[in-house]
Symmetry: D3
């Protein structure tokens, strides 16, 4: 049904009732990109920051944030993810880092928000750890790349 | 000092020591923008969603997330904000909603991450509440607009 | 069995073992009432507070608190609610607002505490948002109205 | 100013700016009462529940909840309490237990909500631990008894 | 498979994918021991601390911490425990208190970390409540005693 | 005063009132040690686990847990740490890893528990990330090494 499902009859928000849905495997992948100064990119990727630790911390942040999605996004159902995985794609020419996160669950509702939350927290962590040298960083193109499972089926971002 | 201040000598991350700094008034404003389908925009802004509640929920989400920043971003100091305020700027032509958040504190470290977290959580909440009708929404241009206070002084985004 | 089930043999508290129970649909509805000065009531309900936002914030607070019940009430099982819905009933003559919350789950234990927590957090939020003009507000008649599902069956408050 | 201070100009809620206030000692005491069946009261108070542990757990719940107030009540400032103390007053004739909580802080805003949250969480914990034998319990008369400190001065409930 | 399962191909950590596993009953028991000065032990066990409340608070702390394991240990799956029980074994001769915790769940992954977290939080709570009289306390021998359920079967600590 | 300061007159626990204390610089260092099988140690330290990531994740876990101390240990005051730093000392002969954490604050109460919590969470994270290959690991010798600041002055573990 083509509805803003978080609103009840009187226009107020609610947590959508999924009691009637069946638990099935749900999977979602989201993406986001941090843009930065060339020097910042060089220092993160291998220059003067040893061992890529910015991304190691960002990855832990993303995974932990995915688990907290239901306590940050008001109308999200609390969910027990069965998997969260993150990948980082450095784009040398554009001095950008793309972050992707994939979340999985076997439950009655999807995990798009969990994947988006993981991506967002990881990007913000990159910002936080580098802001002392580069306050002009920006985060863009946060979106859902793909989701599968559930009654609404598979969605793939058309690009 | 022009350093990635979250790393100690051996290359590992840490929460930067701010014990020597003085508590002063710090303020930061961040921005982010949700882009969506025209119909989604119309329904949020006044059409078939009564009373703009998507933005009301997004605003509460942003304020509550700002307070949790230190538990989401690993190297952020825990902080007791003295103020968080959010504003929403609909851009009718582009069917976008810009979200701005301003955070304040009187403490030894700045609140840029708190403002960014508020913006991000609000944008994700808009996504969550409308995703049933529009999975292609994206969030972009998350950045710091301005910050003041502290030893590094005032920063204004050059645009 | 008619027992204070949160205590083990030696008189200490514990989180009751529900491993042997079957997951079934459980539902609970709770209620609570905020009493206030007539002027406070008028301002919330339509007078000088635009758009009923006190109740909008209270509703978000209630839904988010329901999801945190297991981390606030020590012996409650952590649960992933499948639905939370809230309703507000203004009583003009008594300048009171009654708050009702209904929670649902498919699990091995009931959701009475989640419904009660949602009601309570919503009532406290009303208090918080109006306390600058009315410190004498009070919250009363917090109780379970109805619950169904599980081995103990259906309970309806006798009034 | 006699205003609903959680709303900004456009009618939306915000976390009130207290940056201009001075940190002073603030104190608040709140109360709430659980009413129950006579047998429930007897078992809690000394009969077949050894050592009064229901109240011990309720007390821990109240203290821990007071510390979480800013993450449960949306517009509350996050605060670092310097003290929380709880007292329980059994009323044998009415088979009721009154819960009182006193919170203190040296900060720019008051702690009324923290005291109210402590009382409420303790009352709900009593409910939770006894609900297997008495689902008809109710919680009432949650209110502020007294507060002091800050620009608005001392308030004492008139009864 | 004999692998450090929290690392993906490129050496980064992740939350292991358990989507393919079957939900079965999992159980784990962990232990830990607090060593202290003889006077501290005497005061906890019955002397001048009435009613053993240190252990009552430690028990609540352990149970509540077990529920938070997934938000403290980065790569742990969030889990909804069906049971947590704690036991305290005073060792008079050595003025030690051994803490044991048993956690249960019906899910796709084990609860070893939940049992260990419960034990650890309880031991730290004992430390916290007695540190004013004994800063030299130490906590040792935190380990898994037994676990059962799941593909890796039963493990019993060999001593 | 030589008292178990977490108990009030009637033997119940409370969060100690520190309103009368002065904010001064407080610092605490704690330690803990994970013992493991030789092969586990080798794989963590450089063998088949690339880049020491177990310790990187453990370090993030420790820092984040330090910030949550007040929500895990019931009678701890909530505190805004100004610094947390962690160090790892591998002991090749004994195939042990010692974890040390130092916390700082300028406040009315000490940070011993925060340092101990950081150490404990880091040790448990090492356990979690290696438990698939070594369930017999144990954590011992968790203790305070040093603390300074506040009325009780400096304490150094005598060893």
């Amino acid at each position: 049904m083509n509805d803003l499902t978080h609103f009840d009859e009187s226009g107020r928000s609610r947590m959508v009732d999924v009691s009637d849905k069946s638990p099935t495997l749900r999977e979602a992948t989201a993406t986001g990109t941090v843009s930065m100064q060339p020097e910042t990119f060089e220092r993160i990727m291998g220059g003067r920051i040893e061992k890529g630790d910015v991304l190691a911390v960002a990855q832990v942040a993303g995974i932990m944030a995915a688990k907290k999605t239901g306590s940050i996004i008001p109308m999200c159902h609390p969910l027990n993810l069965t998997s969260v995985a993150m990948r980082f794609f450095p784009r040398h020419g554009q001095h950008q880092i793309e972050v992707q996160a994939t979340a999985k669950i076997i439950d009655r509702t999807g995990v798009e928000m969990e994947a988006l939350m993981a991506v967002t927290a990881a990007c913000l962590t990159v910002y936080d750890m580098c802001k002392a040298i580069d306050r002009s960083m920006s985060i863009s193109d946060i979106r859902l790349l793909k989701k599968s499972g559930g009654k609404s089926g598979t969605y793939v971002y058309a690009g």
